[in-house]
Amino acid sequence: MLLAMLRSLRTGVVTIRYPAQSTQPPVRFRGEPQITTGKAFTALPPASVCPAGAISGGSGEPRYAIDLARCVFCGRCAEHALDGAIAMGREFELARRQRVGLVVEVECDAAGLTTARPSAPEGEQVAERIRRILGHSLQLRHLDSGSCNACDWELTALLNPVYDVRRLGIDVVASPRHADGVLVTGPVTRNLETAVRRTYEAVPEPRVVIAVGACAASGGIVGRSYASAGGVGEVLPVDVLIPGCPPRPEAIIFGLLLAVGRLRERRSRAP
């Protein structure tokens, strides 16, 4: 016992300070695929390059869009783009309240160059509303609706000594009846559809639904088929979508704080 305590003291604090302190993912990290404006529109790769079906437009159409809810962050579009027309950024704080907020779109201007379209405004106010409903802590129930387990393991990582989300008043609880909402991973398989609905119904109102990862947010690489509903949104009303395949733990924390609308508050208190 004493030895264990000594060892712990020697280890020191391993917990990160995100979100109070921002973090920079490693150089090779593949975050948001960014369409560079002012490049030739024809330098964008055809939509078929994307294995997840996240890209639409191009080839004749004067618009080109990447749906981050579908994106699996493979980097293939950037590899196939000419002249750096798409670059994999390192941005990971991608969670949004609405699916439209996750579509990155450009247009082809008269000179044949890519130009930005005004992006849909994202509702921090909406998040504010959730915060008022739920107060300051967030107790969530995990609901695996058919994930590959990568998102699940990242949720487990949130509880490890490095991320320790409990320090933020967030915890994963054992029963839906003790929860303020559900954290859903996976595209909702046919074999789990009933269980997903029932678990949601067991959560007392008001409740939030957080779609973690590409599969939950949109069906991701699984898509919609005889075995998959193609995302949680097909079955439950979704409050927050967290893109990623899987989203890294800090990206999930960002999404969770968005869910409680506390992000701004935490940041203003940062030293």
Binding site: G146, N160, V222, S225, R248
Partner: protein, 541 residues
Amino acid sequence: MADSTLTLESEIRLRLAGRAGFEHGPGPHDLTVRLAHATDVPAAVAELGAAGLTLAMLVATDEEATAERDLKVRYIFEPGVGTTLPRPDTFVTLVAALDPAHPQLPSIAANVPAANWHEREAQDLFGIVFTDHPEPNSLVLHDGWPRGLYPLRKRFDARQRPVVEPAEEFPHLRVEGEGVLEVPVGPIHAGIIEPGHFRFSTVGERILHLDPRLFYTHRGLEKRVEGLTAGDAFYVVERICGVCSVAHGLGFCEATEQIAGVEVPSRARAIRTLALELERLYNHVGDLGNIAAGASYHYGTSAGARMKEALQQLNERLTGNRFLRGLVTPGGVRLDLTSELVQSIEGVLAATAEGLENLMNRIENAPSVLDRLDTTGILARQDAINLGVTGVAARASGVDRDARRDHPHAAYADAAGPRVAVVTETDGDVHARLTLRVAEARESLRLIRALLSGLPSGALCAAVPGVLPPWGIGLRAIESPRGAAVHWLRADGAGRIDRYHLRSASYANWPAVPLAAQTAIIPDFPLVNKSFELCYSCTDR
């Protein structure tokens, strides 16, 4: 070709003479045996068993639209544990052709328990009837799936979505007697765990019987890749399982490369092997923490989680993804190692090695923890052999098999590549599976260091054609963190994916969990389960 392969081949030809046609393939050392009559399957399977082969998997295919106008079932065999080491690296495929109007075969599950799930899966997805199956209930398709609709038949449109009916009671074995209580658990569990349903029959705390129901996470991924190019399908396969992303992605790539006849550059093979071992390492180290959690040893849970986290952060520095996704690609690898990254790897390895020894030391000196681990969840060696159990679960029960040695892949296939020292234990309990993981983690550390010190120079990737040679078949086994995963891939007439099938290690090992649970009490089930650490998503696909 090794002498032992030739001897085995001539024995098989002799045993099945007059009943089958023989040809080499799909791999250069593999043999394909085409049975003249499907009714001969049980007899032929018995002959192959007598020749020392064991069943690895079944693959059903719908070939109604081809010139052969039939359904086929392929029984894939490999040399069994009784074969003298080194075992010949060979797969023997027994092919039975079926009438698509009345696809029917005699079941072999009564004599070959490893075939039980495979046959039920082919029944659900292809409508093949296996007569006299001991347990012919549906496996993959659950509640209210319409009768007569078989999603892996070619004429089934994958976008079809039959209505979801309310859940029905699934047929399970009822244990009766005084004081027998049935405890249903799941599919949604009270923790961050994948979904499965367990029906325990108990007396007091003791588990008498456990009936698991899986396939809740069946995502139809094998259907999903049909018609795609190998290049596109790769991204789906890499995502069948989170914690086996490298192993499964690599198996698919090697099958593709086998079909296309592509030689992968030696530097790429070494980097792939490095990734395989890093994947094994973060899994095994993480499992140490999970087993500690199952035994309510919180210091161990934290220490294991912290070590795993450091390894996953390393993964992200190396590949841009914490699960090592995006490194392996058909033809080679997409990313190189820099001297800075090599240093980073060495630093994390040193810390992991130290942390591992410390944690093990503490566990081995904690009587209260050992008490939970010893004699809990015993899997007998013979049961492990009969069920075709693989990986840690097999080796901890004294079954000496490891695909890195028995079916060499990546750099293990190179003459100058690393050689793995296969470790086994004998007790087959939770403690044995824990000790074995630690021994294997040490071996992974050694292998990674050996790979880093002798990294060949040269290209990272060879060109793989966009379309594969028509009707080519690839068959590869990869030792994933959970054991051997076997991949079967075939191109269609246009060089796209006609059929892909994965038998993951977890698929082979799940049926062993109920047997091991019989020596446990209900509160120990999570511990037993964690000591196997089987994955639902790569079982269910």
